[in-house]
């Protein structure tokens, strides 16, 4: 395998990791807010805080990893994406900044404040929406380059059905993934009232998530037929994704095996995300940057891969320790520690 393929695979895996952990975080923010305005916060917010407090910074690093990695392996992408995304990128930064810092201000600092909770909930939905612009842009046709000036075609972006369907898919997925995880966490904590509420959220968001996925797929076929065809060739991945969706929904509906339900959802998104990503090959930005032409020098690519392996050797044991102490430690989850 060439180093640029390894590079993009690693990055895609990390982006997938961010998709999962960030969805849990973003969705949890929204549910916390929703519970508060419907006066159910005493039921779930303790549970949400116990999971989120130790891990929110880790979630953020997944994202940093992805964007540092992509400009490292594919410096060309810094030029096009960087130039075109100044505005949506800056908005995403500001939202992320508000979210992260307000979380800390509220949780470690002062007492509960509805303003903080509102911002925390709202940013949880706005951030996926603003980040999804990068995904839409990668389909091509939204940027122009004239006299060395790269610019984003805002009008085209805002009137494109593809871009709005991706936004909808992002938001709905966030809520669905998050609710399923919280069901699993509540079940572990044997917190029946909370479980009842979050399971209800999960069931509620399951159908919209699959509808949004299909809609996006249809609009993609109109916007970028090549990508669509490639994805159809990977029909078995999409099939597996739908299959896991059905397993998860069934388990949630039965109210059993929440752990397996959550793993199924992870697999559902895994196959969809990789089917989408592999179908995108060989472009990072259709048709301006391809993986092979946009890659960094071989010596740098190999150095990055070596650094990556070294980093994993350090991180994996630490992450396991973190999960052991907080996620899989029944006493901690139940709030006894």
């Amino acid at each position: 395998m060439s180093y640029e393929i390894i590079g993009i695979s690693v990055l895609w895996i990390f982006l997938y990791g961010y998709l999962i952990v960030a969805s849990i975080d973003f969705g949890a923010g929204f549910f916390a807010f929703y519970a508060k305005i419907t006066k159910q916060d005493h039921v779930v917010n303790q549970l949400i805080a116990r999971y989120l407090s130790p891990v929110w910074e880790v979630t953020n690093v997944f994202f940093v990893f992805f964007f540092v990695g992509i400009v490292g392996f594919f410096p060309e992408s810094a030029y096009y994406y960087g130039s075109a995304l100044l505005v949506p990128g800056s908005i995403a930064i500001i939202l992320l900044a508000i979210r992260g810092s307000f979380y800390a201000f509220e949780n470690y600092g002062s007492k509960q404040s509805t303003v903080y909770t509102f911002l925390y909930g709202a940013t949880g939905l706005l951030i996926p929406a603003s980040l999804s612009v990068a995904l839409t842009m990668s389909e091509g046709g939204f940027i122009t380059e004239e006299n060395g000036v790269v610019s984003l075609q805002y009008l085209k972006l805002f009137t494109s059905p593809l871009s709005w369907s991706i936004v909808a898919l992002a938001i709905v997925s966030v809520l669905f993934i998050s609710a399923t995880f919280l069901s699993f966490y509540a079940a572990r904590a044997q917190d029946e009232p909370a479980l009842k509420l979050v399971r209800h959220f999960a069931l509620f968001w399951s159908t919209p998530s699959i509808i949004a996925a299909l809609t996006t797929f249809i609009f993609l076929s109109q916007h970028n037929p090549g990508h669509y065809e490639n994805m159809l060739d990977l029909w078995w991945m999409l099939g597996l994704s739908v299959g896991f969706f059905m397993i998860a929904s069934w388990l949630l509906y039965m109210g059993k095996y929440y752990g397996i339900a959550f793993v199924s959802i992870m697999l559902q998104y895994f196959f969809a995300f990789f089917g989408y990503g592999i179908g995108h090959y060989p472009y990072i930005l259709d048709p301006l940057i391809s993986i092979h032409e946009g890659a960094t020098h071989e010596s740098m690519g190999i150095a990055l891969i070596i650094a990556f392996i070294g980093g994993l050797l350090l991180l994996v044991p630490s992450l396991i320790l973190l999960m052991k102490l907080f996620l899989f430690n029944a006493d901690y989850v139940k709030g006894k520690k």
Partner: protein, 449 residues
């Protein structure tokens, strides 16, 4: 119009970095202070020190949050605001940036563990052990990002073909000539600054309340560290100057208003320049510039005349340099004075004057960090990658940059204000005296002396 975008890009970057660097410095240095306090507390079975570690951690976590979000901002802004720079330099310097992420990752994981496991282990040293990866993670983030900055000053580890970097040697790029001195100076100043800030907060609280044992111990510990790292900073600063003399002479010359190459050059402190480039009202220390640059009072120091005038860094960096160096000598001197007073018979170390001086040292240290970075960055002008790409060539061409500047300015004002409010609230709602009783009821109350 063209130049305006560049100017705003520079201001935006300067603003973001100037803000991030405050929290980044705290992120590098404070874990060391926390770890030291907890270790002493466990070893001497002294609840005061352990409470100190707990309370510092509580403030620290708030500053980490702001550090993380502003760091994420600057990381993305590098591509958003300087797309041409990242496209070109990314080929050579992405390795340390990538490694920096692993350092954060490591730090973030153990910070989560450290925060939520205070009373979870029977053996108290286990909890203390979790502070070490935080120190290492924070320290290495600083090392790797400083390496990136060093590369921009003395690029190395590649060849140039058709205007692009080729034959890249990533390790060579990391070990460029600026790396050793810069890394050590940045680390020693981060530790110095955090020690000084914590000492200053303690002194301030003693001034407001009274000198209980708890505060006295905190003051002694933080001032001892201020002194040690203060001396270390003078040493690493001196080696930084020697590095400049050898590899980036125009930066040192601009800081010293040293126009003509000469032997036995004088050190110029403060003063101002007239139109003919003559200094007025300065303090002159004979031959000391030669000593600073080469460790020899008669050595030859390269002057600005050897650089074409349009490539000169702005000459006002002189003040930045002088202020930084002055503070560099003042900080360890304040700490030393405290220990001298302490050694004297009548024990005057907690008098108002002394405490006020200490309370001043925290803000001074932070100011020195800012002066130092402004000097280092402005002193590289007009280059972004010295000798290869100017700041002007690197900037974005987007017309929206001005609007973004305003948005980020508002964001930083908001974050800064809430940061201060939150910190004050945490510590006011929860005074040390009460907390001591709550966590360690065995300590008898009337412990002030």
């Amino acid at each position: 119009m063209e130049l305006d975008t560049v100017l705003i890009s520079r201001l935006l970057t300067a603003m973001t970095l100037g803000f991030h660097i405050i929290f980044a410095t705290l992120g590098v240095g404070v874990p060391l202070m926390i770890s030291a306090a907890e270790f002493i507390g466990i070893k001497r079975k002294d609840p005061h020190y352990r409470l100190l570690a707990r309370r510092w951690t509580r403030g620290f976590i708030i500053s980490v949050a702001v550090g993380v979000v502003t760091g994420t901002a600057i990381g993305l802004q590098l591509s958003l605001v300087w797309p041409n720079f990242m496209q070109m330099a990314g080929n050579v310097i992405s390795l340390p940036l990538f490694m920096e992420v692993f350092a954060f990752f490591f730090e973030a994981i153990f910070l989560g563990i450290y925060l939520y496991t205070w009373d979870r282990f029977k053996n108290e040293y286990i909890h203390w052990l979790f502070s070490l990866p935080i120190i290492i993670g924070g320290g290495f983030s600083a090392v790797f990002i400083t390496i990136v900055n060093a590369f921009m000053n003395t690029p190395d580890g590649f060849e140039v073909e058709n205007g692009a970097f080729a034959a890249v040697n990533p390790i060579g790029a990391m070990l460029n000539p600026a790396t050793p001195t810069k890394v050590f100076h940045v680390l020693s100043t981060a530790y110095l600054t955090c020690a000084a800030i914590l000492a200053a907060i303690t002194a301030f609280l003693i001034l407001k309340k009274k000198a209980t044992d708890y505060y006295k111990k905190a003051l002694k510990l933080t001032l001892a560290l201020t002194f040690v790292f203060g001396v270390l900073t003078v040493i690493t600063g001196d080696t930084s100057a020697k590095f400049l003399a050898a590899h980036q002479p125009e930066k040192l010359a601009a800081a010293e208003w040293h126009f003509e190459t000469e032997e036995g050059a004088d050190l110029i402190l403060f003063g101002w320049l007239n139109d003919a480039h003559e200094t007025i009202g300065e303090i002159r220390i004979p031959k000391f510039l030669s000593f600073l640059a080469h460790g020899d009072f008669n050595a030859e120091v390269t002057g600005l005349e050897e650089t074409p005038e349009e490539m000169w860094p702005p000459l006002w960096v002189h003040y930045m340099f002088d202020l930084m160096v002055t503070i560099g000598f003042v900080l360890p001197a304040i700490a030393l004075l405290y220990f001298i007073l302490k050694k004297m018979k009548n024990r005057q170390e907690h008098n108002k004057g002394m405490l006020s001086l200490i309370a001043l040292s925290g803000p001074l240290a932070l100011a020195a960090i800012e002066f130092g970075w402004i000097y280092a960055e402005e002193g590289r002008q007009p280059w972004i990658i010295r000798g290869y790409m100017t700041v002007e060539e690197a900037a974005t061409s987007s017309p929206y940059i001005g609007l973004m500047f305003i948005l980020f300015l508002a964001l930083y004002i908001l974050l800064g204000t809430l940061f201060v409010i939150t910190l004050r609230k945490i510590f006011r709602d929860n005074p040390a005296e009460e907390e001591l009783e709550k966590h360690y009821p065995s300590v008898k109350k009337g412990d002030e002396s």
